[in-house]
């Protein structure tokens, strides 16, 4: 980089800094002082203006310790006197728990404590609906439900103790198909609440009028599968109580404030007595946005008076953490002869699994994005999320966006082929433009879908892309 260029960059930075000096001053105000309203505009970069950080090379501050193998993730912590916890998993999708016998496990040398649902002060939590138990009490709703937990002097003894816990189940017919769950006559998993626990509708224009004016109408159904985040670092937490009845929990949690609220609720301890230390997270991807092992280790630590750590096994990552929602996506699209979309109707059925988790957020985002990045005058999109006796589904990168993207882009390809239009061309004829209205009728600015498509087409050498660009 030559000197002039460097100086120019510096000047740009300085100029920008002086512009935001007033803002900085406000941000510097002590937390106790009443906050002046922030001028929102200055926080938003000008359209098509890059912030000074763009194109600057940066080294991650944590890179050195990562590379040296010195970064400490929770499983790397060993506190003096620490015990290891393991959780017994139901292994059955739907059942009533008739009896749990933990005597033999408790008698195993090296086992210090066993807890079940009876030991949980308030056995329900969740980021929105509080429908998830810490440990299943009367009912098992999916195979990955915990039914008991053991703290022992070694992991191996804790694992062995799990085998000695006897659980008698009375199987209940599971609901596995989301479309089955959607039917009103299907018994509710969490009765008296209905199986449909979230619903959203987006209306824009009049789809019936749009379909009536269409040259052709295309209908198709798409499905996606369940996906696990598979963070390289399994879920883990470590709890230790101090002499004054305060608990410190080290956790791989992405949302500690929310986790603190859930812990206060489940442990029935004031939030002021709970301290969560979020350690370096070895991959989150949305899967570590809510508590899992935290209340269990806290209860075991309280019962034993010793620090307790619990780390998921890899199988538990798949059965007992959240996953991405499978969605059944029905599309109906009316088009002109030239491939211009006049109306689009969408129905989404999200498989919510056994508990709500972040389903409501996912449902909303999937529904809003389901018509795709296309300028469509008439839209009707409806989304449902239903309970099934499966691993719960929750937050995962994109919150429902990747699933609907797969559906509407597949649909576009099918339509293009049927009409004999180039797949790129049909998209260019329909994409959102500057000032277009989104499916929720928000006016959009800084829209570069067209430019992005053209650049992409040129870079991977799509037929004819050179000509258009």
């Amino acid at each position: 980089m030559d000197k002039k260029e460097t100086d120019d960059k510096k000047a740009a930075v300085i100029e920008r800094e002086s512009q935001t000096e007033a803002l900085r001053e406000m941000l510097r105000a002590p937390a106790a002082a009443p906050l002046a309203p922030l001028p929102l505009e200055t926080l938003v970069p000008e359209v098509r203006q890059q912030t000074p950080a763009v194109r600057q090379r940066a080294t991650r501050p944590d890179a050195r310790l990562h590379g040296l193998g010195q970064t400490k993730y929770i499983d790397d912590f060993y506190l003096p006197g620490m015990l290891f916890a393991k959780i017994k998993r139901a292994g059955i999708a739907s059942a009533r728990i008739v009896r749990i016998d933990t005597k033999e496990a408790e008698a195993l040398p090296g086992v210090v404590a066993v807890v079940t649902a009876r030991d949980v002060p308030c056995n329900s939590f969740g980021p929105s609906l509080k429908d998830q138990p810490v440990l299943a009490g009367e009912r098992v709703f999916h195979a990955g439900d915990g039914v008991a937990a053991v703290a022992a002097v070694t992991e191996q003894i804790a694992a062995e103790a799990l085998e000695k816990i006897e659980v008698e189940y009375e199987p209940v017919t599971p609901v596995l198909d989301p479309l089955e769950s959607l039917k009103l006559e299907t018994p509710g998993l969490h009765a008296p609440n209905p199986n449909i626990y979230g619903h959203k509708v987006i209306r824009k224009g009049d789809v019936e009028k749009g379909f009536a004016a269409s040259y052709r109408i295309f209908e198709a159904s798409y499905r996606t599968q369940m996906v696990e985040h598979v963070p390289l670092e399994p879920h883990s937490s470590l709890a230790t109580w101090d002499a004054n009845g305060r608990v410190t929990i080290y956790s791989t949690l992405g949302r500690i404030t929310l986790g603190r609220a859930d812990l206060a609720r489940t442990l029935a301890v004031p939030m002021s007595r709970i301290r969560i230390i979020a350690t370096v997270v070895g991959g989150n991807f949305g899967g570590k946005n809510e508590i899992t092992t935290e209340p269990v280790v806290a209860l075991l630590a309280k019962k034993t008076g010793r620090p307790v750590k619990c780390t998921f096994t890899r199988p538990e990552e798949f059965t007992s953490s959240t996953t991405r929602h499978p969605i059944i996506m029905d599309y109906k699209t009316g088009v002109t002869k030239e491939g211009r979309i006049l109306a689009r109707q969408v129905r989404l059925v999200l498989d919510g699994g056994a508990y709500c988790s972040w389903s409501e957020t996912t449902l909303a985002k999937a529904c809003i994005l389901s018509p795709g990045p296309y300028d469509i005058e008439n839209i009707y999109a409806e989304a449902f999320v239903v309970y099934t006796n499966k691993t719960m589904t929750g937050a995962m990168r994109g919150f429902g966006a990747p699933q609907v993207c797969f559906a509407y882009e597949s649909h576009m390809d099918d339509i293009a082929e049927a009409l004999g239009i180039d797949p790129l061309e049909i998209r260019l004829r329909n994409v959102l433009r500057e000032g277009s209205l989104s499916p929720t009728s928000q006016q959009l600015h800084s829209v570069v879908v067209r430019e992005t498509l053209l650049q992409a087409a040129q870079r991977f050498g799509w037929n004819g892309a050179e000509v258009r660009a």
């Binding site: 050195r64 040296l68 193998g69 010195q70 993730y73 499983d75 191996q156 670092e233 370096v280 070895g282």
Partner: protein, 163 residues
């Protein structure tokens, strides 16, 4: 209990462990070398990769007693804060690690490759790293870093032969 004596990062170490203890647990729990990670415990993810007698292995699949008398190198044996191994330097410079959990295993796999083959092709690098999973999807920058280390080594050798 089984007595295990081995060389770890150049030092003779001894421990008494129960026979079913894996090499990974020996390193982490007896020797406090927590750089090698437990990711899957079945040899799929490579986070536990260490070198035994110069070859990369999954330490979660090897019994500690099988490592008795052998020479083990872990990520902790590569460098200090002041003097990095070229791989660690380049992984840092290229931003090859994101969450970092897979990093120690990947760097050991790359070291095992470069020790045997100082000038690998990209195909060979990919093959050497195939047993190390990264979910942050940072593979291209890792490959870039390994290539850069190989290139630097090649330049050094060329300079040496000219001089």
């Amino acid at each position: 209990m089984a007595k295990v004596t081995l060389t770890v990062n150049g030092e003779a170490r001894t421990a008494s462990v129960s026979p079913e203890t894996t090499l990974l647990r020996l390193l982490r729990e007896e020797f406090g070398l927590t750089g090698s990670k437990l990711g899957c415990d079945v040899g799929d993810c490579g986070a536990c990769t260490v070198m035994v007698d110069g070859k990369s292995v999954n330490s979660c699949l090897m019994l500690a007693v099988q490592a008795d008398g052998r020479d083990v190198v872990t990520i902790e044996g590569l460098a200090t804060m002041e003097r990095l191994h070229p791989l660690q330097q380049l992984f840092e410079d290229k931003g090859s690690l994101q969450c970092g959990f897979c990093g120690p295993g990947i760097i050991i796999s790359a070291k095992a490759l470069l020790d045997e083959n100082p000038d690998p092709t990209e195909e060979e690098i990919r093959d050497a790293l195939a047993g190390n999973l990264c979910r942050c999807t940072g593979y291209s920058k890792m490959i870039e870093a390994v290539r850069a280390v190989a290139r630097a080594g090649r330049d050094e050798r060329t300079a040496g032969s000219v001089a």
